[in-house]
Symmetry: C2
Subunit: 434 residues, 2 copies
């Protein structure tokens, strides 16, 4: 294959904010999104927060002529919210549900019910096999005291694991979605260092969009200024990431985002800005010039990976500690509920045992207390089971991270130059690995 | 690389039946298993139903000198029960939790609490990369009326998906575990047709073990004759499956199973028989002679795949129908509970509204009924959420199967020869795909 085989593709990503009856102007926005997608004719469309299957079916009908192939990833109670539309045939799909995703009793946050996951669609583009991943990680509700940080770090860890393990057969890899992480957040560094995925925003000089590539901005009328207040103009949490392989080269030609409004429309498509990236894909002549394979930990800066992994393990350990404490609290509350129930039964039993003595325990209070104790017992039992499962997932991730650390340290052992204060240069590490 | 690079490895698989305090002679059996494993020095040991982490840690300590590398896959409430021990370095691991795994209220069956999953360990053997998968699917409690069949078919589907998508970078693939499926069961056909994994039992002439390779047998004193009664001498549900790649060849040299007892010991290792397979691994000279890659649906008999997939879709649809019915029943019961509660409150409110009239509703009955109604409401709500999640997973699998069917039909279209009653020969299909 030679250079003339190169193809150009346009990839679109948008968090649609599609909570029926709760998100503002939901139906009108879907109509706007559908019209725009039909007109723009992107090659691959990656949508998040399409919570209702009806909205997916509406878009599928709308795009029936332009995007023949589509898939809606079902998971959790409401679904994963992930939908893909493609002009090229989707050969195969796979869904990986994150093991942790918030708490069911935090119903007002709702993440748990969404069954957050990463979807994979294997798409054939010309002679090339492209793996498209789309995901939506757990939201961050309070940056200063982020109770969900361990869960999001575990999700980022599972996301990078899933991409690494499933992309060995792919010529190019593209990941789009709402990662709910700022560019320098731990989970993001974990993801990009391990997978070697590159950020489309940073990889092109041809950028047209809101400054600094922000995707949650003050100018968007659906955004509460309170949310953005601590971050000046906004935050960047939506991404299109990509990488090539030893078989194919991929380059980001241009990147575009919306800027809080849509010309000629009364309101924007969503509370998030929409991302469009244009790529050029070209088969490689020979595999020799490709820097590394994903199998050997992305071959990147091993020492930097060790640092990031150490940080991630600390965060997961904090999560383990919290889950253990919460499970202990659940068990203690259950024990107290049981003790209260037994005490109450004992008090009620006294007149019965002393035969004929008048029952002093008012019946109303008795039954209310029994109901209260039983409710406490039921709720704390369910919570105990839930926290045990959370603990298992966190500990499992910690185990996997420890194993990964062992592999990295093995690599560092083979590294000939003493570690400088700035850490070894990537080139040195690569030489050591060869 | 040439032929002298070939290596020989021995793989062991056993369902340990390790339910502490419930499984008979659990501690003694683990001691026996540990001694045997230490003596036999298999290259890779794949264990299932190691439900307690303490037992895993006991084995890890015991095998610290012979098997330096190990991993315990954590999941669910009790854990996945999956453990791997290896003489070769485990480079990386990944756990995929099946989306369906029985029902939490079927506590006496217990599968739901186990968090069934498939574990992947990437192991370096010499210059080769071997992907070891170990799994344990949902048990079959009644073959005639198997309520869990749709769940097991979904698990088999997810297992084949996971293996196909994650094994593209592997030189050889080995899967060991208790599949809880007979050799010709739908799930097994789905798994082996899609992945092209070969059964070690059928691939060697050098077999030493119980007749027909059975792994749940009447001679095993831990097995209730009732379980085996419908199947004459026993059933075969534990397997070691394998395949090579375009980079490496793998052959099964010999296969061995225990026969219901262990010489010199008072009882067997488990209620399942233990499997040992010996393989020869050799790098391939060139990739041209390998029949197909897993990326193109294992390149096998496409028409046969269509038949199996049709059968699997039917089974999943039955599951969808059942889940819908159960969810409807939960909703109806919740509505009845609510109606009863409102009726009761109305009756109790009458004397209150007519001021001064005597309360005719006995207090005891009133509170008992309120508690009953609230319990019904709570339980049915939880069940409604659970069945919705089950439905989402089943529908998601059905969608993926429909997509896979589309891909297969595309392939069949390119097939030049009219379909004969016996279906096209694999060779013909391969030619059509080229």
């Amino acid at each position: 294959m030679d250079r003339k085989d190169s193809v150009s593709i346009r990839v679109f990503s948008l968090n649609c904010w599609g909570v029926r009856y709760l998100s503002k102007h939901c139906t009108q926005r879907y109509a706007m999104i559908g019209d725009m997608l039909l007109q723009e004719e992107h090659d691959v469309i990656l949508l998040q927060e399409v919570w209702s299957e009806k909205d997916y079916l509406f878009l599928r009908k709308k795009l029936a002529s332009s995007h023949v192939h589509s898939h809606y990833f079902k998971s959790g109670v409401f679904g994963s919210g992930l939908a893909i539309f493609s002009k090229h045939r989707i050969q195969d799909t796979l869904l990986y549900r994150y093991s942790l995703n918030g708490y069911p009793y935090m119903a007002h946050h709702g993440d748990w019910f969404g069954g957050k996951a990463v979807g994979l669609a294997v798409v054939n583009i010309g002679a090339l096999t492209a793996n498209f991943y789309l995901t939506h990680l757990h939201a961050e509700y309070c940056r200063e005291r982020d109770a969900y940080l361990p869960h999001r770090v575990v999700q980022a860890w599972e996301l990078q694991q899933f991409i690494r393990h499933t992309s060995a057969g792919a010529d190019v890899v593209v990941l789009g979605g709402d990662l709910n992480m700022h560019p320098q957040d731990l989970g993001n560094r974990l993801l990009t260092s391990y997978t070697e995925l590159r950020d489309a925003y940073g990889e092109t000089d041809n950028f047209d969009g809101y400054e600094d590539g922000l995707t949650l901005i003050l100018e968007n009328p659906f955004i509460s200024p309170k949310v953005i207040a601590p971050f000046q103009k906004g935050i960047r949490i939506d991404y299109i990431l990509f990488k090539g392989s030893c078989n194919a080269n991929i380059q980001c030609v241009s990147m575009r985002t919306t800027k809080g409004s849509v010309p000629g429309q009364p309101f924007p498509y969503s509370d998030h800005e929409a991302l469009t990236a244009e790529f050029t894909l070209a088969p490689r002549e020979a595999s020799g010039d490709f820097r590394s394979s994903s199998r050997d930990c992305a071959g990147g800066d091993v020492a930097r990976l060790v640092d990031i992994l150490t940080e991630a393990r600390t965060e997961v350990k904090v999560g383990v500690h919290c889950a253990e404490r919460m499970r202990y609290t659940a068990a203690r509350t259950a024990a107290m509920g049981l003790a209260l129930l037994l005490l109450e039964l004992a008090i009620a039993a006294v007149p019965w045992l002393t035969m004929g003595a008048e029952q002093t325990f008012p019946l109303t209070s008795f039954y209310l207390l029994v109901a209260l104790c039983l409710s406490i017992l039921l709720c704390t039992s369910l919570l105990y089971i839930f926290y045990t499962m959370e603990l298992k997932s966190l500990q499992g991730t910690e185990d996997q991270m420890r194993l990964a650390m062992g592999s990295l340290q093995e690599k560092l052992k083979g590294f000939p130059v003493a570690k400088t204060p700035e850490g070894p240069k990537p080139g040195d590490v690569l030489r050591a690995e060869e």
